[in-house]
């Protein structure tokens, strides 16, 4: 299986802080790669560096063979990278429809894709003309993911989609992400919810102090409790 995204020796500085300290990782095409780690390990910075919101100070980032570490964020997005930031990142003053039209960028909304999204997130159809700011937390997260998948993307970077959501909404999100995965999408997913990680992940990368400290199969990590405790400081079974 070919790697769609590779990072080699990537360093990122934010102000005087040296956050990413030589990241090497590969995201295989058509797979869901989980990025796990303690708070402050550098997971969000990794995603933000890939999409160009933080400039890598050193190292190479390659997307499908194209070097992207020096490109601006809009250019990286236009290469087919969808980014779902944490904290229900919608445009509150715009309606649900306008949020999705904005994400479609260069053309009208694809009705088939829209129906497919409404299948998972019926609330979006119900509140189609409502302001996104008036949606509940779960609905905002649905909209945020819908915005990333309204157009076909080569790679999806998703940052803690289940954070702060009710269990029923988490289940709907997992089902949606599974469906996206079945359609062959390549996803790099930061997730703290182990149930979601185990359900979705093919491979796993564990970060600590700005470096990758473990890489392997998600199923293997899920089965190895001592390894979880060593890498993450806790057993994932107790962290659901």
């Amino acid at each position: 299986m070919t790697d769609l995204l590779t990072l080699s020796g990537v360093h990122t500085h934010i102000g005087r802080y040296h956050i990413l300290q030589g990241i090497d990782l590969a995201v295989p095409e058509g797979q869901v790669t989980m990025l796990l780690g303690r708070n402050g390990a550098g997971k969000t910075t990794t995603l933000r560096t890939i999409i160009g919101l933080w400039q890598a100070s050193k190292g190479e980032i390659s997307l499908g063979g194209t070097r992207i570490e020096s490109l601006a964020t809009p250019d990286i997005a236009r290469l087919g990278v969808g980014y779902v930031p944490e904290s229900m990142a919608v445009f509150s003053d715009l309606t649900v429809k306008e949020n999705l039209v904005l994400a479609a960028r260069d053309g009208p909304l694809d009705d088939t894709q829209l129906d497919w999204i409404f299948g998972f997130f019926p609330a979006l159809r119900r509140f189609w003309l409502s302001r996104a700011g008036s949606l509940s937390g779960g609905q905002k997260q649905m909209l945020s993911i819908a915005r990333a998948i309204i157009e076909p993307r080569k790679l999806l970077l998703i940052d803690e989609p289940t954070k702060g959501l009710a269990p029923a909404i988490v289940m709907a999100l997992i089902e949606c992400l599974k469906e996206i995965k079945r359609k062959g999408a390549t996803i790099l997913l930061v997730e703290q919810n182990f149930f979601a990680a185990r359900e979705l992940g093919d491979s796993v990368l564990v970060m600590d102090n700005g470096t990758i400290v473990h890489r392997g199969e998600m199923a293997a990590l899920a089965a190895d409790v001592p390894l979880q405790e060593r890498l993450l400081g806790l057993s994932l079974e107790t962290h659901q």
Partner: protein, 361 residues
Amino acid sequence: MMILSGDPPKSRVLTLVLVLIILALAATPFLFPGAKALNVAAKICVFAALVASYDLLLGYTGTVSFAHTMFYGIGSYAIAIALYGMGPNWAAVATGIVTGLPLAALLALAIGLFSLRVAAIFFAMITLAVASAFQVLASQLSWLTGGEDGRSFRLPELLRPGTVLIPKDMFGVEINGRILTYYLVFAGSALMILALLRVVNSPFGRVLQAIRENRFRAEALGFRTVFHLTYANCIAALVAASAGILNALWLRYAGPDTSLSFSIMLDILLMVVIGGMGTIYGAVIGATIFIVAQNYLQSLMGVASKAADEAGLPLLPGLLHPDRWLLWLGLLFIASVYFFPTGVVGRLRYGGGKKTAGPSH
């Protein structure tokens, strides 16, 4: 609805107030005779367009610019210099327009491309510096601009007060070149406001709103935000320069105090805040309230002070003395910002709370 670009006022009271203002402005020459009323009405028209163009920047992109009066001044001076130099003819008017508008747009493009990449506060400082430099330049180049005295000029014959188009016996009011100029100002301002409504309700306008809310998030969707902000800056500059052209045509004069003064910038800021940011309609309301208060508060207070004096009330005659009109104007603005934090239009459209059009869970 097409004329409003699918963005109606969304409040009966607001619709009524806007209709009343527009009807009053349209009928000013017939309803309110006298030069002062016509001057106030023309100023409301010009400022409504000018403030609406500033709303495109501040309300729709969240960009604070202090260079807006500079663009307004470029329009004013372009037409004044052309009519002064070439004489009162239509070729001079056309020359002023084709010189002033591109100059304003080019300057806005340069400021945008060089400055909109930096943080908002630095952009504000850069625009302040450029506007100050331009003001000094206009004052120093006295051979061209007339310096501190500005430039007075004559209008083409059709627009002169002495040109009678329709005699008094037809409508009860003589339709002369002055009234024709007023309707030129009225129609020009209305067209600019409608064009701005079209801009903010287009896909481009949605991107601007997305940028205002979160620039990084808009970039992550693939939008080159610097270009969008620069286009918005250019559109706002073009409208401001056009408003400057209309103002100069109305006043038959362009000078530092009427076109470039920093106090005009403060007035614009106050009008956009009073009317309601990010609404375009707020510009019409804000300009009307501000300019009417600026022109009639003093005489209104004189009447009130005299009445209080005649009634033998203590303190009030002194407090309401016409000389204290600026104090009351200031209090009026503090009260309006306190009671209408989202501006008059925001209050009328969404009530006292946040903008919520859908469910709240």
